[in-house]
């Protein structure tokens, strides 16, 4: 069977990127370097216009790839080598242009915010059944793995690397579905099974700026390489996005009124959170929250019968989780998110005399990078894993979704996955897609404009299974993250 082979486009080995940079440093490549730089400079000086920008990049890449074919240092190279030169070029150019073209127009920024908000509401109440995911395929714990893959999308700048996050996410889902079908003796899963899970995973993962990320891949991934299987799965996430934009009661098999109520109460919860962070007194806080919610409710919905008390306390049928959680025997009024609890805890800690004692357990908390030695890596990694495990377990126990600041500011939950990931998730396509190298080796010595990115942190190639990878990656990739990640 085919399919796997060209699935991730012309995947290039990690070596290819170095090879590209290597060749670009050769004197015979001077003309190329000049054209690339001049393109980047000209481009950067123009006002953003997504359509024109995309066309300009696509055209430039195409022309350059043509030129590579005819000139040293690539003349006479195999198709494969030319292909990876094209990949290298795309990565180089787009890494340079990223800040200029990513979410560069107000409409995109606005869409990002709207989509993010919609998903953060939906994720609080959507159930697999709402999307026609059959019971034998439901496996929320394992879907976390797929969510983590998708959440990595903001760690990369190159279109291909971002695309790889989407593809890895799809791959994890496919593997889980396939395993489930074998276990339950079902037919092998097709799109009927796949798309609903992808939608569910996307909503739960809710990566910031998803809309802009997808547009960016669409616009700046070289079109001749966004084909076949990669194109199919990319179409699936576009279609997931489209579905999510249009979600209403009907599309989730819910009564429309019921749907609106769930959305409203999800919104209140989020608003409740921001009220929380401003107020440290717990009880007063809850009261204030109630009043605030009530006002909001009254403004939005003049239906007086839905008073906040009834709505929140007597609504076992409404918010499934409300009835799952009890404190001192009485139902908790609303499920707090992790960040909610975190904020409360932080406030309490500030008033805690034994603060130091509490942190003794965590020897690295106040360490600086320079203090660490190689020998610390193992224990650091262990502490880290423990922390993540507790964190995710806590989140799971709370019934809230664990992606909060921690997940978004780095990639920690994927470490949890580390050893447990199905082995084919970690196959070479992934390690190729994920392997990171210094973007700017080409200019580390003599090209001043390159200094903007991490020249000091040149990395050697690693495979994705290297336990140190994520630590390094975190350091290495942090500057790449779009601001609001």
């Amino acid at each position: 069977m085919e399919g796997g082979g060209d699935s991730f486009g012309s995947s290039t080995a990690p070596l290819a990127w170095h090879d590209f940079l290597e060749r670009m440093r050769q004197p015979s490549a001077a003309e190329f370097v000049k054209s690339i730089k001049s393109f980047i400079v000209t481009f950067s000086n123009r006002a953003p216009d997504p359509e024109k920008d995309s066309a300009a990049v696509q055209e430039f890449l195409e022309n350059m790839e043509g030129a590579f074919r005819a000139h040293t240092p690539w003349a006479g190279s195999s198709e494969e080598e030319l292909e990876s030169a094209g990949e290298g070029l795309e990565k180089y150019v787009m890494t340079k242009l990223f800040n200029r073209v990513f979410a560069s127009v107000p409409e995109d920024v606005k869409s990002d915010e709207e989509l993010f908000e919609k998903m953060s509401l939906l994720q609080q109440f959507i159930r697999p059944e709402n999307l026609d995911i059959k019971p034998e395929y439901q496996n929320e714990t394992s879907w976390l793995l797929a969510q983590k893959e998708l959440q990595k999308i903001n760690m990369y700048k190159a279109p291909r690397d971002k695309l790889a996050c989407v593809l890895n996410c799809c791959k994890v889902i496919n593997n889980l579905l396939l395993n489930a079908s074998v276990v339950s003796n079902e037919n092998p899963p097709g799109a009927d099974e796949f798309l609903p899970v992808l939608i569910y995973v996307t909503i739960k993962a809710n990566p910031p700026q998803l809309h802009s990320n997808l547009l960016y891949i669409q616009r700046y991934r070289r079109q001749t390489r966004l084909v076949s299987e990669a194109q199919y799965f990319f179409t699936n996430i576009l279609s997931a996005e489209s579905f999510i934009w249009n979600i209403d009661g009907e599309s989730l098999s819910m009564n429309e009124l019921d749907f609106q109520r769930k959305m409203d109460s999800a919104r209140e919860r989020l608003l409740g959170l921001s009220a929380d962070s401003e107020n440290q007194d717990n009880q007063a806080n809850l009261d204030a929250q109630d009043r605030k919610s009530e006002n909001l409710k009254a403004n939005r919905n003049s239906d007086a019968r839905l008073s906040m008390k009834d709505h929140v306390q007597g609504s076992g049928q409404d918010m499934r989780r409300d009835s799952d959680v009890t404190v001192d025997g009485k139902p908790v009024e609303r499920v707090q998110s992790i960040s909610d609890i975190e904020k409360k805890g932080a406030a309490e800690l500030l008033n805690d005399d034994e603060l130091n004692k509490k942190f003794q357990e965590y020897p690295f908390l106040f360490a600086r990078a320079g203090d660490l030695t190689i020998a610390d890596v193992e224990s650091l990694l262990n502490s880290y894993k423990q922390l993540v495990l507790r964190y995710v377990a806590l989140a799971q126990g709370m019934g809230v979704s664990p992606e909060t600041t921690l997940a978004q500011s780095s990639q920690p939950p994927s470490d949890l996955v580390g050893s447990e990931e199905p082995e084919n998730v970690n196959d070479n396509e992934k390690s190729e897609g994920i392997s990171k190298t210094s973007d700017d080796v080409i200019s580390e010595n003599d090209r001043p404009e390159a200094l903007d990115i991490k020249t000091s942190e040149k990395m050697t190639q690693k495979t994705a299974v290297d336990p140190n990878d994520d630590l390094e990656a975190l350091k290495d990739e942090a500057p790449c993250q779009p601001e609001n990640a």
Binding site: M1, E2, S10, E79, N175, P188
Partner: protein, 199 residues
Amino acid sequence: MGCSSSLPASNAGGLSNANNVSSDTDSKNFRVKLVLLGDSGVGKSCIVLRFVRGQFDPTSKVTVGASFLSQTLALEDSTTVKFEIWDTAGQERYAALAPLYYRGAGAAIVVYDITSPESFNKAQYWVKELQKHGSPDMIMALVGNKADLHENRTVSSQEAQEYAERNSMFFIETSAKTADNINQLFEEIAKRLPKPASS
């Protein structure tokens, strides 16, 4: 279960596992995007798996799901067609997303289950949809699947045949379970595809 039966498929006649990549579009070898439409549960993905694998082997590590599969078919005139087969979710709530999938498709297979009149209605909906929004030169096939369950048949082949003719489609009944007519389906589509002008 539909397509996991162990009967070997009669696919010896010309399937080859070519691993060509993007540059294979010339007058001898070309590739085509084929989209599968139809209600959920009619066996869309089983048809494809039958075609691609002959038989489904659940222990195989290679398969990562049947939503996208590709298969190259060698024709008698020594051309080869690489089918890139795009499955779509058949549930009603996802119907509005289909245009994203059939955009740019050179062929479409609309599948129904011969034991389910609802699925035949749904198939007719897809045919209309494709006629309205699909590319005008798309090759369309109407496929009545689960032909092995003929004792439960509720959609007569004559009715379907007539419907297909009225809509200038190719019609065939298949069984993904027994592999009946599976290869014929794809061979027929391949024959009907407009051959690209020689380069």
